[in-house]
Structures are given as structure tokens and as C-alpha cells.
Symmetry: C3
Subunit: 327 residues, 3 copies
């Protein structure tokens, strides 16, 4: 089930010719139909535009419903079997441009200045600390406690029986029930994505959310960035210790245990019941299976299959790590 | 000298049959005597209950004053020489249950909502920043400065001539004199201890404190978790840089220098005059001797004797590290 | 161009005999001339005093304008060719003493208690969040946004079109235009420098600033410490991800990309267009060239020449790293 994104104002009047224009492509003979949204190839619906950038995603391409797909010359022939390709030089830059067409405010990551003191609001059986700031249309479930100085930006959803600490900042995020978020964590800011320029880097729009499941614990001083086109997801009953960094589009499964100072680079996918020791790092776009155990301090730079124990930098099978270090 | 724990309301009427009942043990013929407290095997007094979980602690067992000791079948015969064993399947879960009998509120780690603006209080020669929040029965010594937005929860003790930064959160903590705690550090929250469950993890109660000696410096964005049954301790004149994580029950000696982004897992014991380079990690339950030097980025997974220099991942003697890397 | 330091009150009446006295040197036959400042050997002007501590800086010594140079016996003969040496046992301790003569308040790193609510000030076209605190003589450029609970201490300069997040603390810092500083970062606190003592460590005065160029992005939960005698510098258009630590006197060039949880030890110098992967660590006093790429998790302990790719702990040429790990 796709959770509705409540956080970005979408331009409802984008036609294919607006998109072709922004990509500097010819408007030629295409019928100027209305395009509904831009999203990833997996979640795209019938009147959406998407993109294809790597043959890792071929299986998703085969099943995609996207009407148009932004692609470079190299992958043109594959894409045209399944959808209508739009050829561009730089896929990600083109996706950024089209995203900005749909979501013209998506590069504005300023502090939400429309928050007010929580005293102004009436939430049933919710307890607030001092100096708490709450945005517009925020939903907070019964028996949830919000600590001092915490900022909940507009449209955020927090379930019931949650316990949010002090000095926390939450934006563009949907949180389940019985979730604990400890002091000074920052949830939902934009990811670290941009195109390097000589004078000025060009920021990548982030229109994804953070979605946190039921019974999750997020420790102190965590940073969990929201997704770019898809979402950053923390599965049910996953517990995260202090000072952990979770980049944009990371997808963590259920029942994971992630100890302090671990870092996840963008778009890593982590299975269920994964146990990660302190200070380990997971590179971007990797797939870590279910029931994996990653030793403290490991640097994971390859996919890891289910039911495996790894350790080391770079991470390898734990038996090999022990053997190599006994030489 | 044991410092009195002021932070948890203890149930004063626990008898051994209440404990046996909570552990699902037979009440059989035991006289129903009153039990005073649950604590670790080292600090237990005559009418306390404790636990024994590893033969690492055999020397402490031999000297323990604990009246009852929670133990599993495997260690039953050792324990019965020195105290009265209570056999259980899972020692730590049983300790958690008994701890909750004595301290029924010990799982509540919410923000202290009984704090007030520091304007309400009169502390002699203490300077407060703006928006500072102070709990009930907080003690603050003369000439101490407390920065803006900082939260000092109920019953915390801070010595004289201390300098507490901005956006700091301090709970369940006793701080000596001339201590500096820099911006955004979070001291005294519960440790990352729990029993994994399928639907819901079961949190371990943390009734220990953080105890910080005289002349200590704690940098910015540190997280120092309080102990579970024993305390987390930072010795006199130890200096800690930014973004350091110190887990529950860690005991750091005097005159240590701990540079940025170091992480300590639970129950590590560090000697005096230990020097730790940036980003090093120390595994749980290890013993690091006096005058040890640990190179930056090291991953320490074994005990380290006094007067040793180590480096590497896993950490080894510095000469071996240099030799291995010159091959 | 040297940027003027606005943050420390300088004693304008220091004569060479005051300095000799504080260093416990004989006042002998020297004429008692006025000394203007203490600074590093590169930036020292005609009537300044400086110091020389390592032959790494011989080229700078040859060109220095400093009238006096604090030095130990070992380097006396080199220094006397270029300036007037003052021989001491411990160069850095002597520099600390003389710095305190010029800047008697430089060890006070307390929270600035002279800040006021931003409501008190009138900044043209600047937007402030709630509970924002601003010190005296702060300059903020047009169209800059300052988030909730953020503290800008006295004399700080922030350019135009900047976007400062929530819960940020900025002191002793000069920031260019179009700079983004995300939530909970702490910019400009003193570095982690001191002389270990048995009872009490002796803190090193930090009279440097942090200087942040145009178009820079600083992520969430960063700590950027100010310099001791020289400055900590972030060059134009450099982007920094979350949870990065930058120690005192670090100098980062232009167009760098520094991903999450990276740590820089003191006085490291980083070239332009340097790319550093997550969790890498850079040791103190190193020189990293232009166009260098450092892999995630690397531990850099040697200088790195221009246009090099390194990875590993310790970091080595990337080809060697790959080869060594395929054995």
C-alpha cells in the first residue's frame, strides 16, 4: 500500500509538452496529454512519468505502468519494449528538472516558520513539554508525549502512545504507534543529493517522506533524511541506538537492531532481523538480506545474502575475518 | 563510597515471596523476609538480591554480601557456595522483572514534564541563559553557568564552577566541580538494552545513574547513557571531544583523553590516563588498562593490558600494525 | 586577504618585557618595544610575535615578518637567521601564556549570556523562527532565514540569502552568502586543545575564528571548531553532510564533497574538489591535495598528493586496496 504524501504541493497541470519543453526535447507529434506525477519505476501509475538508469532495475521495468520513462541513449532499446522512452543526456538532472515542474517548492528546505506554540492546539490526551512548536495540520495520536523545545512541522503524522524527546525536529514524516524518538534527533530533512557545479552546486529535489513503523525506537542525535522520489522507511519494531545516520531512500526492514554511530548511505536496502554493530557503515544502493549480522566497525561495500554473518573493512564472512586476523 | 541514587522511586515493601512469585518460582519453605534492593554483585548489601551471569565475575561472587543471587542452572553449583541461588531460565530477563518490582517507574524515560523556567528558582551565584528549564530538587553549585535552552531534570546534582552549554539535556546524573559540558550533549538517558521480541521488544529497566567527576570536559553532541543496575562513570579530569558515544555501565578512569567520534559499547571499563584517537570503537564488556594508547580509527575487540599502544581493526600492538602495513 | 577577527578583546598595551616576564626570561638589554599581536608565522606582521615548532614550516619562517619568534633550543639556530628567537622549554605552553597576555578572556567559552530575543532587533528582510536568540553587533544579510531556537552569538557575521536551521549555535564565525547550515550544528566553539595535568588539564586559548565561504552547505549535527591562533576555513561551494566533525585550524578548499560522519583532526589541510566518503577520518596536520578521492571508512594517516584515489585503513592507493582485498 502506498502511503499518500501530504507534504509537497503538486502542480496539477503538467502536460507532456511541458515536460518535453523542460527537457529541451522536440514536442513533435505527441498528443499533449496530462501527466499526473513523477515517481520511481516501481510505484509509477498509468499516467506517470518515471526514469530508468541501471539494469539492476530491469525486473521492475518489465512490470512498470509508467507512460513515459526518462532514459539515456544506452538504455533506450530496453526501455522502448515496455514504455515510451524520452532520451536525455543526463538522466538524474532531467529527473530533477521534471520533479521541479511538478513540485516547484521542493528545493525549499527552510525551517517551517508557520509553526506555533503547542498551547494553541487542542490534542486529546497528548502531553506537551515547554516551548514545543507545532505546524499546521499535524496529527498526533492519544497518549503521545512530546518533549521540550521539540518542533513538529506541518502535516506530520504521529501515532498514539508515542514518546518524542526534547529538541527533536520532525518534518515530512509519518510515524506509527508506540514509537520512541529520543532527544535531538532530526527526522525528514532533505538528503545529501546534488549535481556538483563550478560556482554553485545544483540541489536535487527531495519530495519523498520518512515513514517510521510501529514500535520503533530512534535514539538520540540520529539524522534520518527523507527520500528523493521514493521514501526512507524504518520497519516495525526496529530499534536504533544513538548518533546513527540514515541517508535518503534507505529502506530498513522489521525487527532490526542498529547500534550506535552506524551510517547508511543513500538507497541501501536492509532486510528483516538484521543486527548491525556500532560504527559500521553501509554503502549506497546495497541490498542486505534477512537475518544478517554485521560486526561493529565493518565497512560493507557489497550485497550480503540472507542469514550471513560478516565483519571487516571491507566486510567479509566472519569466519574469513577471524582466520585472516589470526595469521 | 557508593553515591546515593536519588532518581528512582523504590518500592520499600518487597519480600522474597514477591520476588519468587514474579520469577514463577515456588514459594516453598522460605521465610518471607524483606529484600532491600536489587543491585550488581559487587555493590550488593546484606539484604539485597543480585545476579550471576558469567565466571568473569567469580572473584566478586566470592566476596558478595547478596542474600539471594539469580542464576541459571549452569552456574548453580558455584553460586550456592557463597549465597542462596534462585534458578531461572533467563538471568537477564529475570533481573529485569525483579528490577521492575523494586522500581515500577523505571521504564518511563519520557521527558521530565515537571521542569520549570529557571526564573522560578533562586540559586546563589548561578547564571542561567534564556529558556532554561530546571526540574525539582536540582542542586547547582556556586558560580556555575547554564546555557540557553538547556534542560536539567529533577534531582540532578551539578557542582560549583561548572559550565554547561546550550541545548544540553541532563537527567539522572551527578556532576562534580569545575566540569564543562558543551552544547547539545545528552547525559543520562537510558541505555540501549532490551530483549528482542517478534512484535515488540521488551525494554530493560535502567535504574543506574551517570556520575561525572571533577574537572571533566564533555564536548558537543556527546551521548552518555546511564547505567542499568550499576552506573556509568567518567573519572576526574578526563576530557572528551565532540560526537562521542558512551553506552550504559561504561566506566572511564581519570585523566583520560578521548578524541572526537569515539564510541564505547556497554559495560566497557577504561583505566586511567588512557588516550583514544578519533573514531575508535571499544566493544562491550572489555577491560582497557591504565596508560593505554589506542590509535584513531581502531576497533578494539579484546582486553588491553596496562601501558600498551594499540592500533588497527581489529586493534593490535602498534608495532605489529606498522609492520603489517609495510608489507 | 586576512579577515579581521572581531571576537576577542585584545590587550593593546603589551610590551616585549611583559612577554619576557610571562615566559620567565630575562628582560636584559632589549629595548621595551610595543608588540602588536601573537599569530602564526605565516600571518605575522612587523610588530607581532610568533612561534616555530617544526621544520615543516621552514619555508614560512624564511618569509616571516614576525619580530620575535618563540622557539626551543633545538631550532634556535635556524630561527635566528630570520628573526629574533626567544628560547623556551615548551613552545606551545609559552604560546598559550603569551596568547593569554594579549587575550585575557580567551579561555572563557561560556554561552554568550548577552543575547536577546530576535524580536528586539530590526534586520531588513531577515526572517526569524521562534525563540531565536541574537547577540550584540551581529550582522545578517538580506533574505536570510534563521530557524527556531537558534543562537547567534555576538559579532557573528552571516551573509545574504543564507538558510540557517533550527537549534543551531553559531559563535566566533563569519559566514558568506547563500550558505545553508542545517539543524543542530554547532559552529565556532573552542577546539580540543590543552596540556594534560595531573589534577587539572590546562586549556589552550582559541582566538581563531571559523570562516565559511559562499554557497557552502553544512549538514545537521556538525561540529566545526574554531582555530587556536589561525582560523578554521571552509572554502566556497563545499558541501558537508550530517554528523561531520571538523577540528580546530582545519582548512578545507573549494568544491569539496564531504559525506556523513567524516572526522577531521586538528590543522588538516584539504585541497579543492576533494571527495570524501562516509565515516572516513583524516589525521591531524596532514595535507590532502586537490582532486583527491578518499573512500568511505578510510583512515588517512599520510599526506595525499593531487589527483589521487585512496581507500583503506590505513588509506592507500585504491588499486592497491582492491588488489590486497582480492587475495
Amino acid at each position: 500500500m502506498k502511503i499518500k504524501n501530504l507534504f509537497f504541493k503538486k502542480n496539477q497541470n503538467i502536460f507532456i509538452n511541458d515536460i518535453l519543453n523542460s527537457l529541451k526535447l522536440k514536442k513533435n507529434k505527441l498528443k499533449n496529454i496530462k501527466i499526473n506525477d513523477i515517481t520511481d519505476i516501481k510505484n509509477a501509475k498509468k499516467n506517470d512519468i518515471s526514469f530508468y538508469n541501471s539494469n539492476k532495475y530491469l525486473n521492475l521495468l518489465k512490470k512498470t505502468k509508467a507512460k513515459y520513462i526518462i532514459v539515456n541513449e544506452e538504455n533506450f532499446n530496453i526501455v522502448k519494449k515496455y514504455s515510451t522512452p524520452l532520451i536525455v543526456d543526463n538522466v538524474l538532472k532531467s529527473v530533477a528538472n521534471v520533479t521541479l515542474l511538478f513540485y516547484p517548492n521542493s528545493l525549499d528546505d527552510s525551517s517551517d516558520l508557520f509553526v506555533s506554540s503547542s498551547d494553541k492546539y487542542k490534542y486529546k490526551s497528548v502531553k506537551f513539554g515547554k516551548n514545543t512548536l507545532v505546524g499546521k495540520n499535524v496529527k498526533i495520536g492519544r497518549k503521545t508525549i512530546i518533549g521540550h523545545n521539540t518542533i513538529i512541522e506541518s502535516n506530520v503524522v504521529i501515532g498514539k502512545n508515542c514518546n518524542i524527546g526534547n529538541n527533536v525536529v520532525i518534518k515530512k514524516t509519518i510515524i506509527g504507534n508506540n514509537v520512541m524518538i529520543l532527544d535531538s534527533s532530526i527526522i525528514g530533512k532533505k538528503g545529501f543529493g546534488f549535481f556538483p557545479g563550478i560556482k554553485k552546486n545544483l540541489r536535487y529535489p527531495h519530495v519523498g517522506m520518512v515513514i517510521i513503523g510501529d514500535n520503533v525506537e530512534v535514539g538520540c542525535n540520529n539524522t534520518i533524511d527523507r527520500g528523493s522520489l521514493s521514501n526512507t522507511i524504518i520497519g516495525n519494531n526496529t530499534f536504533i541506538d544513538n548518533q546513527v545516520h540514515i541517508a535518503h531512500n534507505v529502506n530498513i526492514g522489521k525487527n532490526c537492531i542498529i547500534t550506535a554511530q552506524v551510517g547508511f548511505a543513500g538507497s541501501a536496502t536492509i532486510g528483516n532481523k538484521v543486527l548491525i554493530g556500532g560504527q559500521a557503515g553501509i554503502s549506497g544502493h546495497l541490498k542486505i538480506g534477512n537475518n544478517v549480522q554485521i560486526g561493529g566497525g565493518s565497512g560493507v561495500i557489497k550485497n550480503i545474502p540472507d542469514n550471513t554473518r560478516v565483519m571487516g573493512y571491507p566486510a567479509k564472512d566472519i569466519r574469513k575475518f577471524i582466520k585472516d586476523n589470526n595469521r
